[in-house]
Symmetry: C2
Subunit: 234 residues, 2 copies
């Protein structure tokens, strides 16, 4: 016996939900679909899973092709299997979401793909069930970031506390008290204060911090509770 006979084989794809943060707001990277159906419409970047390739491989490959980036935060969101989700032919999709430093992303590559960053609050229409995927990814990001220090993945190596705070405020649509915020963040001892300041956005300048990568790896699973009223989240 070398095959399971009489069973239906199905197309399997991966789709990547790619988050970035430009210092102001949370953004999502979308591409213009280059094949029919829905050619020319906005879509998550995706691709079929190839023979001999795991989901992680496929998603990593797809992400790299679009952004030029490797070794970024990526996590399986969910598998989507509605029989009608692709009108051409049944295709199941395993969705992954990634958090990338938007500055490292290579503009040139994405031009080849007709890619564009959209503010998470002003997304265009997207094909198939992609808006459903995106909704789930946003929810999961909010959920996870409430207890795990994953938002650092969206920032450059050096960042300031006000930048970090505005990232949290953006994601939770909430105003945070900067005294409480900095006390809570610094109490994790995950951040190392630098000697230099960021002086673009204010006259006085704000000190840079770096992640303590070692502690970060160890403490990743620590629950943080950054958010005032987590009751509202799923």
């Amino acid at each position: 016996m070398t095959r399971y006979s009489r069973q239906t084989r199905i197309l399997v794809a991966v789709d990547c939900i790619i988050f970035g943060f430009d210092g102001q707001e949370l953004k999502l990277l979308l591409v213009k679909r280059h094949i029919e159906p829905e050619k020319g419409n906005w879509s998550l970047m995706g691709g079929f899973v190839e023979p001999g390739e795991s989901f992680e491989c496929a998603a990593t490959r797809v992400l790299k092709k679009l952004t030029g980036l490797e070794n970024v935060y990526m996590e399986q969101l969910s598998a989507f299997g509605d029989p009608e989700r692709d009108p051409i032919e049944r295709t199941v999709s395993v969705a992954y979401f990634s958090l990338i430093d938007i500055n490292k992303y290579i503009q040139q590559i994405s031009h080849e793909y007709d890619a564009e960053w959209f503010p998470i609050k002003k997304l265009p229409e997207v094909i198939f069930d992609h808006s459903n995927m995106i909704e789930m990814a946003k929810e999961k990001l909010r959920y996870k970031a409430a207890f795990h220090p994953i938002l650092f993945e969206l920032l450059p190596e050096k960042f300031t506390l006000p930048q970090l705070q505005s990232l949290y405020e953006g994601i939770y649509d909430a105003a945070l008290d900067k005294r409480n915020f900095s006390r809570k963040i610094l109490s994790t001892t995950l951040l190392v204060k630098q000697k230099d300041k960021e002086k673009e956005t204010s006259k006085r300048g704000a000190f840079y911090y770096k992640l303590d990568r070692k502690k970060y790896a160890n403490k990743f699973n620590a629950f943080l509770n950054f958010i005032p009223n987590p009751q509202k989240l799923k």
Copy 2:
């Protein structure tokens, strides 16, 4: 165009991780595999996804076939896609975990399948990557139950506080203070005290409680924080 040409189609299956609680310990329902390869070895209950059937449908169908149960708690765990996970032919699997009231489970049906409940701490060897799936499911259950009141799904309609407490203690391998436990649980106002008592396990008897189903549905997403040291969890 009616098909995506030149792409590989793959077998897609679902596997169910079925948890139950017998009043003493957490258990898992396994079946003896009835097809080659690994015929006769212990396995999660699974099945191929059929044409026109979503993952949820497939998982529900598989669960019902084995337990006779419908409308039970079920959640997608993850998709597993290692190309080598099934030695016969590449098969991706979407795993679902379920929490069922072990008393409602119909003994007779499971006999047809050679099914057996195993204590979660004394599992036999299982086929393929099923032990990996089980590990992930245990972790996810611990994670989720720390913040959401899902463990009620494992209990019968009427249950006592000591029963509930021993369920939490079993899942977290921790001794809990019964005064603090009952205060915390009752403060959710999710439980309604009954007039009758359970008198099997003690002379004095313990009052039964029922879930307030309405509040339960509303408050499901409330964070509960039942566990003393959530730092240890993933």
